[in-house]
Amino acid sequence: MAIYDWTHKIKNVAMLILCNHLFIKQFGMKKTFFTLFTLIILYACGNQNSHSSTTPDNNTSTTAENPSYDPQRGEGKFSNIQVPATIDEKLVAEGNKVFTVKCSACHKLTEEKLVGPGWKGVTGRHKAEWIMNFVTNTDAMINKDPKVQAQLEICLVRMPNQNISDDEAKNVYEFMRKNDSKK
């Protein structure tokens, strides 16, 4: 269950480069060598850290420590999803198939919690992009997202990464919308 958090590393480096830039501006070129040196050392350390994190770390970094994390959007490929007014029944049917095989063992369509929370009302609790990011980028979000971490304290089972494809995520979301539209 190895997770290589490359994005984390890239972010660290980007921040260091930014710092370096500001440093040069403030203190002039004299300090550049020193800063570059620091940068190299820090980069090397960062590199080592990301290599050795071969198990999912229970790093409960909150949004305060991680200002770039958007708890409304979550983390993953999806952002700014425009949800149309009508429901696409074709997608719902596909989403139902995914639900049956990959989700239904742990989630009910009512509000009742089974292994994980019931799906009734889920599209009201989370934005579309958050849901799609969570089902496609599960482990990363379990490690970062405050809402997921709060849920983990209740359920105690990490939601399995079910290798949901991007299309499957869209279909499942439509299936959830349909489920929420029922009275």
Binding site: S52, V101, V115, P160
Partner: protein, 662 residues
Amino acid sequence: MKIHNINKHLLVAFTLFATFTSCKPKNSSDTISSDAASKVYVAPGHYDEFYNFVSGGFSGQLSTYGLPSGRLLKVIPVFSVDPEKGYGYSEETKPMLNTSHGFIPWDDLHHVQLSKTNGDYDGKWVFGNANNTPRVARIDLKTFRTAEIIELPNSAGNHSSPFITENTEYVVAGTRFSVPPDNTIGDIPINTYKKNFKGTLSFISVKKDDGDMKIAFQIQCPGFNFDLSRAGKGVSHGWFFFSCYNTEQANTLLEVNASQKDKDFILAVNWKKAEEYLKAGKGKKQSVRYAHNKYSEKTHTATSEMMNEVIVLDSKELKDLCYFIPCPKSPHGCDVSPTGEYIVGSGKLAAVIPVFGYEKMLKAIQAKDYIGEFEGIPVLKYESVLYGEVKKPGLGPLHTEFDNKGNAYTSFFVSSEVVKWNIKDLKVLDRAPTYYSVGHLCVAGGDSKNPNGKYLVAYNKITKDRYLPTGPELSQSAQLYDISGDKMKLILDFPTIGEPHYAQIAPADLIKNNSTKFFKIDENTNKYVSKGESNTKVVRNGKEVHVYMTAIRSHFSPDNIEGIKMGDDVYFHVTNLEQDWDVPHGFGIKGAANAELLIMPGETQTLKWTPDRVGIVPIYCTDFCSALHQEMQGYVRVSPAGSNVPLTFSLGTNIPKPDAEK
């Protein structure tokens, strides 16, 4: 006084030094370099540089180690059942161990060969041979599981196997124990060996894309012991070389009777010629029986097909197919240099290592430089084929592999050492002791066209004091040597499973990125798959009960089953619904005269269970899967044979309803 004192001190120091040096224990402590630890240290969380595929010998399995750390990564079940993985116990895997003798739970896996393209490892498959009930297995390196096993007719003691040609055109299998061919009457006096016993060489073709194996042809040879073999490569591509002993054709007390002659043979086979004969219809169809078993990663099920025919080429009748090269004293190893120019014979009882020249062999054949023939096969003149001899190399040479600098490394059983020598000038360059009595050895890429030459592993037959004592039986010891410099340096000991014979070392990069992480559930076409909990059910078919069950963190569906009766055979078809790496679920049931199932994500596996008593029988997940793994359990109710308890199943809700709610 002062001077006297100093002298005294010096004397003490000298005495101490002398004592230490003279009492130095005769073990490896003096041969280990101070930087050995750093050379084999692979920090936690980091990967090894090489995979090491090591035969499990009499365990029947294949083990995989990381090098240079010597960490055991996986034991792959091949020819023996493995209750840990349900291999040979689940209904899906049982056909893998089917043979013409029926189901066989054990064998002796001797040698290991990686598939090759252009003479180098291609990382697709690894092959292993069963020595006892002759078979060859193909293990898929995407899944690290046995994908195919083919049985060999007309064979016994499949030892010179599963050596491979440079593009994996063929995997060969030469019989060590010659026997009467399968289509003859075997009920004959044993002492008619010379007349009736034959040695058979099988050439198994391997399909390029999917690895499918087929016995393309067999060559019937005189009744010798065919011991080891290697394919020609580069210039000698198209030939195969087999070492033979017991050319005396003894059938009793071989220890003495098969060690009579000064020279036995290396058999050179022109397999391109064999292909021509085959095409020209010179092969004879022979009625035989052998099993061909394949495992599908789509149905997650093995099938066993009984085959009934092979084509046999006769070495006696077909000219230019086979030649004998005399080789001193019961040759064992028969190894071909990276360029394919030299063939190294290792007479187990010989005092020299003869090195034969491929071009010299061709010239000798052309000039008909024969000293006679044996059962129709020309015997070439030793001196005409010989490139040279390595003089005084050691005692009991067995196997030779090669580095990338023109050197050869030969294992010596009797003198317990690895000897490095130069292929061109045949001079001995270095010796390193082994602890103890090395059998096989393996250099990274050491049998390929482009050896890596960084590491050598010696697989020792005797362990004695190398590890903490564990009673009369000790695991066998492997020893890792750094061979990158002029001198071989012993840097690590590590224990192995069974008795390791041959092994292969391949760069991790060739294999690791192709590793399957899970099976896609959408592609699962097992007959009894449950794609989702809503498809789980329990179905009675006479005395057979089929439980279509799913497993996901952390429950089975269904987990309460009633209405099973004595006399039923219950089949649990468990589908693992997980779709992530490294999340297998296990399945165990109390009192099952069977094993567990270990079901990979996306896979379906079946355990057969015959209840032996009335009562409540628990089931549970055996492989820790989540924080609520301990909750992953269920119950099965077994009723007497004539009972009218209805067949019901449930998860979460009690079915049937508790009495209070009725």
